[in-house]
Symmetry: C2
Subunit: 470 residues, 2 copies
């Protein structure tokens, strides 16, 4: 393996910074280049702290680069969903029956800064800021950048180029526009947008509502969520239709209407949000979309990773975790195919895609679950039962949520297949009262396992029949 | 309705020329602009006549503009698929049990020229050639063109702009790149490419093989087809994997290998193709893809139609027919919503898409059917049975093929739903020997109808359950 190889990584977000750190640890010469200013020096979030949920797949990547303890100090554990009804009543729906299974709120900015610091501490890693990639000549392994301040254009040549430049990836745009190979691509937007709001800290950085939970106000057609920050604040996100329903982003045009909407739907949240109107009208409404494409690589020259390859909706809290897992998967391939970038890239592009396609679809599942089902009695019964099963049989049962979020040693696709079948089985069994929470748990587990297997077998059979009978 | 409105149509292919003719007949001032030279004056097909299959949906559009008789004189009826096995044996599998149901081979060039002549005969229609659209400023209803010869750049302003500029549509690219609204888009390529070849006429423009059929050499992983031309020749198309299987486009690199491939797989065709090697190495290998997007319109300014909105694989022979049907559907909306372009465009974009999505999926179905199943005994038994049913009960039974191809008064989506369920029912009944060709046809029809209904009901139920249980 030629350790003197020069690697260019375009985009120093979470995925790019982690990749730079890991490949730097492996001894490559790394240039990590970012279009925005250095977020460790300039506040680029315009005063708002945007947070994310990190879970076991992400933690596994932190362990790979040896910074899990540093990351832990940035994390606020969230043990479950705190559901808020329209009367302001709340109850906690735990994420798992196993006490060590929870997700954590972490600041995007703090975590990115940590990864940058760790990468920059390596002498073979160089970070460059304020240079926007205009185009990647992937045939000749050259990328062209424009400097934000001077407008100067420069070109960087490398042995290998990674595009970790997010949903608007310039490497992906170059694949698309140059038409030098057959590039499959899709972008699909939801009819919902989102807007970030905030709950400010109480005195002495105290939390105005439960700190260790992900708060949800599920309302069927829309929802509000809130995640805690280290400074006592919460970042609140409103997910709402652009133009459907009584209230939507198109008709919430005056402070009076916004206040009326929150009074009716989120009265307890409104009390904690004296800045609601300012937030609402100062902050942008942003779209929610899914991007899929293939192949991700071009020969042994270039590779897309993270959101650049597979941007997903945020509802499973797995966007960052999936991008971090990309690095773990790639790292294992680098280990197995020392320096053979074409094999590494081809294998990565081929085997990883079924998992990132799965988490994209699961994210849409979870949107429906969060905005509708978490407040539905039969769904709550299911969750109660699953938590009991996980507590009673910690090694024998894991819910779909647990499979996706806490089982980093199986892929998203397997988690989806098993998890969806379980959900179907349990909801059906509860609906027809074949099982209930008061039954013997051991026999309930047995029935669920049987029905789940039947559903998976039937789905496989159907797939085969359909392939036969087209 | 303001008849003095100026309408710009970008792209004078089949769809654009038909649209210009129809809107011209309605009295609008039409500018139809095309990037290529006038195909009535310059031979732009490089000596090869490329033909298409026209069927009832296309014919309906020809009737709308009153040129069905002129079109008929360009057509060669194809009554069924002439299947060729590897020993050179052939048999005809008819398209329908009703004698008036067949498809016709027609030259793309002749048909486009006819539509152009008819449009140009109207004083309110102007045709412009050799101007390539670079960009559409859809907010300001302006399109920018570059002249091929002079390189001069010009801008055309219009009240309404249509993009009928094919799979590489510049209007669609402007929607995508300007990001002024949420534009869903996907492009997906098959792992197969195609190459056009030819069978030249015998003496006195005689046909070297059966004239009134679509010839197919189905070989499982690949296939060859041939459609007749008026001059006695056939246009032959090879569909083959880019890089899978013993023979593929990547490894057919020498005349010897191409000859060996044809000797082994298509010996009877090879005898009719003394120019095979020249054709093979002179003609390009082209990709097969599907493009879907939405919305197709922007306010009351612009609308995508035809391949620009929904490019599909060619295997159902419905690409042109679907584009022509677009014009029929749009024309009915224009009739109903006199001059209200926003309503017309919105309704078109919303209601038409389920049908063009369906024909895109059906085209992939038919690829599998053509390359694999037409030579399968159980598939042949099914076709024999369906033909008998169509003959015996002409008003009571129509196969999937007939629903899609000959039933222009139901949409593609309905044809797909009904047709797929029928196929599944019949194949299942034949496989388990619940019905046979020797049974009483009346009772066979009854069983098929029952099972088809069961499958459709179950699919609907499954859809509901899945929506419930996610």
């Amino acid at each position: 393996m030629n350790k003197q190889q020069n690697i260019l990584i375009i985009g120093a977000g979470l995925c790019g910074a982690l990749l730079a750190l890991r490949l730097g640890q492996r001894g490559y010469n790394i240039t990590l280049i970012e279009m925005r200013p250095d977020l460790r020096k300039v506040d680029i979030s315009e005063g708002r702290s945007i947070n994310l949920a990190i879970s076991d797949r992400g933690i596994k990547a932190m362990k790979l680069v040896g910074i899990q303890n540093k990351v832990k100090s940035l994390c606020i554990p969230m043990l479950g969903r705190m559901i808020h009804d329209t009367d302001g009543n709340t109850f906690l729906s735990k994420y798992s029956g196993r006490d060590h299974e929870y997700i954590s709120s972490v600041s995007r900015q703090d975590l990115t800064a940590l990864l940058m610091n760790e990468a920059e501490a390596l002498e073979n890693v160089t970070l460059i800021f304020n240079k926007k990639c205009k185009h990647v000549d992937f045939e000749n392994k050259q990328a062209t950048f424009i400097d934000y301040a001077t407008k100067a254009v420069s070109t960087i040549q490398a042995d290998v180029i990674f595009g970790t430049d997010g949903a608007g990836s310039s490497l992906r745009k170059s694949y698309y526009s140059e038409r030098k190979f057959l590039f499959n691509f899709s972008q699909n937007f939801l009819k919902y947008g989102y807007k970030e709001l905030s709950i400010l800290p109480a005195e002495n950085n105290a939390y105005k509502t439960e700190k260790n939970a992900l708060h949800i106000w599920p309302r069927g057609d829309f929802m509000l969520i809130a995640l805690p920050n280290l400074d006592g604040s919460f970042t609140v996100t409103l997910f709402l239709s652009y133009d459907q329903g009584s209230f939507n982003f198109s008709n919430l045009t005056t402070p009076e209407m916004v206040t009326r909407f929150f009074e009716k739907e989120f009265p307890d949240a409104l009390k904690l949000m004296p800045h609601l109107i300012d937030d609402f009208f100062n902050n942008p409404t942003s779209p929610l979309g899914t991007i899929k494409c293939s192949p991700w690589h071009y020969q042994d020259h270039t590779l897309l990773m993270g959101d650049a390859a597979h941007a997903i909706a945020p509802f499973y809290g797995q966007g960052m975790n999936a991008s971090f897992e990309d690095v773990v998967v790639l790292d294992a391939l680098i280990e197995n195919h020392k320096g053979n970038w074409e094999t590494i890239f081809k294998t990565f592009s081929k085997t990883r895609k079924k998992d990132t396609d799965a988490i994209a679809d699961l994210a849409i599942d979870n949107f429906l679950e969060m905005k509708e089902h978490v407040s539905d009695p039969i769904f709550q019964e299911k969750r109660k039962l699953e938590i009991a099963l996980e507590k009673e049989f910690p090694n024998k049962y894991a819910s779909k949520y647990a499979l996706v979020t806490f089982n980093e040693n199986i892929g998203y696709h397997e988690a989806m297949t098993q998890g969806r079948a379980q959900d179907k089985a349990i909801l059906n069994l509860l609906k027809h009262k074949y099982i209930s929470f008061d039954d013997d748990l051991k026999s309930v587990l047995k029935i669920i396992k049987q029905d789940t297997k039947k559903i998976i077998d039937k789905d496989n059979l159907l797939k085969n029949i359909e392939e036969e009978s087209i």
